[in-house]
Amino acid sequence: MQIDEKRIRAYGDTFNDGIVQVSFSLPVEHGPKGDEAARILAGQMGLEDAEVAFSRDLGQSFSFYIVYGRCPAYVDLTQIQVSQVEVEAMDYYEINRFIEERIGRPLVVVGACTGTDAHTVGLDAIMNMKGYAGEYGLERYPQFHAYNLGSQVPNADLISRAVEVEADVILVSQVVTQKNVHLENLTNLVELLEAEGLREKFLLIVGGPRISHEMALELGFDAGFGPGTLPPEVATYVAQEIYRRQRSDSGKPGQ
């Protein structure tokens, strides 16, 4: 079976069959008319041969649909560029050595769950001693001075703390994304930093289960880390990026 990388379609049990499953609710009474509405909606998503495999009454004149159909759309895999934080895998010891040898001083990191977000587990996974999935957090690294401000920290407080401890890096965690509250929050942080002329002083990093590097860049951050991030990935990125900036700027960031 030769795959055409330029025309990747969904696969059920035969190449290019384009099978996809879709589910959604409609504010429509359950019944044949609702089923037909669901079929039409699936059609508008481009599905061919769309069939309502199941529908369920939700009460209150709502109904739920499970639809299968064939999606003729395809993706050109050769055109896909995933922007990801590029880090050569370094481990705990390598990172500490790298910072010691190439930067010559411990790096100061301030982290917080900002706004009204109180989900600290993700940030703790990166920062706390005990770390995550068997990897130590930044607090344990001799070459990092890490300040974990915890949850529900206003952006302004985070900034003033970062200034106070002369941080190199600001780490922000955002987990709650309902109504895009995280986007508002993150944008606001960048704006505050820029307004105070502090944006360039810090390496600005955001993480969370719905964060991607691409989105982080768009929001004006230096990097973004998504679900499953391990502390050494963040530590490596920080060390290498600060080293790179030092060399190219000939001035040290964050000082």
Binding site: R56, L58, G59, F62, F64, D124, Q152, V176, V181
Partner: protein, 524 residues
């Protein structure tokens, strides 16, 4: 209920005794103090409601005025009583005038305590009467409509918009939900006031306001009549405005309240003293209103390792029980929390979950235990999550839980959508019906994995509680014994709202509630 775990009663007794000692220590801390929130609550129960031009709730306006004058140690009741005597107006009118700047509450003639109490008396009576009416109304509904079979199915709504919430809640009730909780917006717990009016914009939840309570209560009463089941309404009695929310819930006939003795301390970094005082009065109100509280032990397992920390859940249940009884709650109102949070990849994890749930059932036989679903190991794999939720539902029915908070297949993705809830209810109904009497049918091998696990968890809890009884709860919390989170007695939000009472301080509601109730037999 048949005992299946071969637990030693002597250990259970020791645990309960240690928890009693711990609770006594806490109560000693509470008694000489009040908080701004407690005082605002008194105003609310006296009928004060509404906001000023700056949208500040009137109870806050009044209490702040008194606090500015450093006169709160006498209690808001004292000052309000004097104002009533002086003006002949109602508390609400007085509050409104204070807000409008037409009345200086600090500048009122002096009256005897007796006169003051007498002036307040009709308002106190009216407040309590209203609550008792609501309680009777609930009892009436329960008599005529009844509820679904146990475990009751508990779902949350969390759109941020109270009107969408009502749609979702009614849909859920039609699908078979017995209990609907309106999750609060992320921001609310740290507000030292309660927002006002109907709200349509929250994040991760909807603001708890009295008007929102009313709107949802009405919606649930309507759909309850339609589906022929009383639908319980739940909200969050926690955060800096904890006792005010208890009052609002009592007035608007909520049926359950998330109301934990330590949750705010640990998970919202609210000051310890503040929390202990606030929870005590909250629980008195909940007790009086016939509201079932839900404690928050499940939360420990979201930050600590669910296998290692299992005994902290049990220890905390004992503490919540002893504190609850001391605040006038009955056993039947103690919805002690626990959770199904072990890593699904753990071999025989289901056996361990069943052991824990069965253990709670046997140790707290009269408590309407609240069983929380898997969350932390759930991913965006909606199919897998649905399945793990099914195993959770199975554990619930097999161990005779009373309140089953249903897991949602989209746990790791978003707050529940309308069909997520429907699928979750269908899941629970299927599993619970299909294995309805499995619990009656099976017993566990003596000395087997299930029995051993329960015994081990109990042993560890006894040890932990006896140590805490020595150290005191504040010290244990400082050392991070619960949820791996450490909080110091002087740290956290809201300490400035704690006030040492003066001698002539009084809280007419607390007094009245305490005198009306028969002390729960197990409280000493």
């Amino acid at each position: 209920m048949e005992k299946k775990l071969n637990l030693e009663q002597e250990k259970i007794d020791r645990a309960r005794q240690a928890a009693g000692t711990i609770a006594r220590g806490v109560v000693e801390e509470i008694t000489p103090r009040t908080t701004v929130a407690v005082e605002r609550t008194i105003l609310r129960l006296l009928g004060v409601d509404g906001v000023d031009v700056a949208e500040i709730p009137l109870p806050n306006v009044v209490v702040e005025k008194i606090q500015e004058a450093q006169a709160l140690p006498c209690g808001v009741a004292h000052w309000m009583g004097r104002a009533i005597l002086a003006t002949g107006k109602s508390p609400q009118e007085i509050a409104r005038e204070v807000a409008d700047g037409n009345l200086n509450i600090m500048d009122q003639p002096l009256y005897s305590d007796e006169d003051i109490r007498r002036a307040l008396e009709p308002h106190v009576r009216e407040g309590l009467e209203w609550i008792r009416d609501q309680r009777r109304r609930r009892e009436k509904f329960l008599e005529t409509l009844g509820t679904g079979p146990k475990p009751l199915l508990y779902v949350i709504v969390a759109t941020g918009d109270i009107y969408e919430d009502v749609i979702q809640a009614k849909s859920a009730a039609e699908q078979g939900a017995d209990i609907v909780a309106v999750i609060r917006s992320t921001a609310q717990s740290l507000l030292d006031y309660v927002p006002y009016g109907a709200t349509r914009e929250g994040f991760g939840g909807t603001f708890a306001t009295q008007e929102n309570f009313r709107i949802m209560r009405q919606g649930l009463d309507e759909i309850g009549e339609e589906v022929g089941r009383y639908i319980y309404l739940v909200n969050y009695c926690s955060g800096l405005a904890m006792p005010e929310i208890a009052a609002m819930g009592a007035l608007e006939r909520l049926d359950m309240m998330l109301n934990d003795a330590m949750y705010g301390i640990l998970f919202r970094d609210i000051n310890m003293k503040r929390t202990f005082i606030d929870q005590h009065f909250s629980r008195m109100i909940n007790g009086y209103a016939g509201i079932i509280i839900n404690t928050g032990e499940d939360n420990y397992l979201t930050t600590a390792d669910p296998y290692e920390a299992a005994h902290t859940v049990l220890a905390s249940q004992f503490i919540n029980e002893q504190l609850g009884l001391r605040s006038g709650l009955k056993d039947e109102q103690l919805g002690l929390g626990h959770a199904f949070e072990l890593d699904p990849e753990k071999e025989d994890g289901f056996l361990l979950e069943v052991a824990q749930a069965q253990m709670a059932r046997e140790i707290f036989p009269r408590a309407p235990l609240k069983y929380m679903p898997p969350t932390r190991h759930m991913t965006g794999d909606i199919f897998k999550t649905h399945l793990v939720d099914g195993m959770f539902n199975l554990a619930g029915v097999v161990t005779g839980q009373e309140i089953q908070l249903l897991g949602m297949l989209t746990e790791a993705i978003h707050t529940p959508h309308i069909h997520d809830r429907s699928l979750a209810i269908d899941n629970a109904r299927y599993i619970m019906n299909n294995a309805r009497h499995l619990g009656d049918e099976i017993s566990f091998k003596p000395g087997g994995k299930v029995q051993k696990r329960a015994q081990q968890v109990l042993d560890e809890a006894v040890e932990m509680l006896e140590k805490i009884a020595d150290l005191g709860l504040p010290r244990a919390i400082s050392e991070g014994w619960f949820g791996g989170i450490s909080r110091s007695p002087q740290g956290g939000k809201g300490l400035s709202g704690v006030v040492e009472k003066e001698e002539n301080y009084f809280n007419p509601f607390m007094e009245e509630m305490a005198s009306e109730r028969e002390g729960s037999s197990r409280a000493d």
